[in-house]
């Protein structure tokens, strides 16, 4: 088990892990509100990579990774994910502006 410190490395390695063995790989998110901690884990039961954070900005990055995994898992490991992250985020942000919610 390895905690990876770089987010981009984590994304790249987790997608690699999934594509190597789609049927066995799972992606787990653990959130602990009382400690304000978020841990992401991707494993195929042979290799396990983890990423932990307490930063709100990483939760936004996680949204992108969620989209990648939803797409890969429901459409199959050969699905194109090159545009998933950016596109989905754009779509998610647009309606928010409409409702007048600003952060």
């Amino acid at each position: 088990m390895v905690y990876i410190t770089s987010w981009d490395d984590f994304v790249e390695r987790s997608v690699q892990l999934f594509r190597a063995d789609p049927e066995k790989t799972r992606y787990v998110m653990k959130y602990r509100h009382s400690d304000g901690k978020l841990v992401l884990k991707v494993t195929d039961d042979k290799e396990c990579i983890k990423f932990k954070t307490d930063q709100a900005q990483d939760a936004k990055k996680m949204e992108k990774l969620n989209n990648i995994f939803f797409t890969l898992m429901s459409r199959g490991p050969d699905a194109d994910i090159s545009e998933v992250g950016g596109k989905e985020q754009m779509e998610a942000q647009a309606p928010k502006k409409g409702r007048g919610r600003k952060q």
Binding site: R26, K30, Y31, R32, S34, G36, T53, F70, G76
Partner: protein
């Protein structure tokens, strides 16, 4: 493990997040799954049938387990609602970036002032 439809699943997940605000954690697992047993899978493989894969989502707070399946057709709608849910619930994370910037500028200013003071002191002697 209780299998739910995507919308009731999200509702139940919300109440899980609510229950664990003071203590406890929530786990959400995503998995590529055909939702068939291994024996069934082998049977279908030998029969040459194509397996249909979907995304299995499981969630637990350590006491209760819930799960749902989303396929290629409905995953986008689900992931959008899931993202909104997460945004509303992951509120204990730190927003440190801004604070750091402010602190940095503050300490910079202090440094400048003390430098000026010391420079002034030197000049006066």
């Amino acid at each position: 493990m209780v299998r739910l439809q995507p919308d009731p699943f999200l509702n139940e997940l919300t109440s899980m997040f609510e229950r664990t605000t003071e203590h406890g954690s929530v786990w959400v697992t995503l998995k590529h799954s055909s939702d068939k047993s291994k024996a069934q899978r082998n049977k279908m493989k030998t029969a040459g049938e194509n397996l249909e894969f979907k995304c299995l989502i499981r969630a637990t707070d350590g006491k209760k387990n819930i799960s749902t399946m989303v396929g290629a057709k409905d995953h986008q709608r689900f992931q959008a609602s899931y993202a909104i849910l997460l945004k509303a619930r992951l509120t204990a994370l730190k927003k440190r970036e801004r604070k750091d910037k402010r602190k940095a500028t503050d300490s910079d200013k202090k440094m400048d002032i003390s430098k000026k003071k010391s420079a002034a002191a030197k000049a006066s002697t």
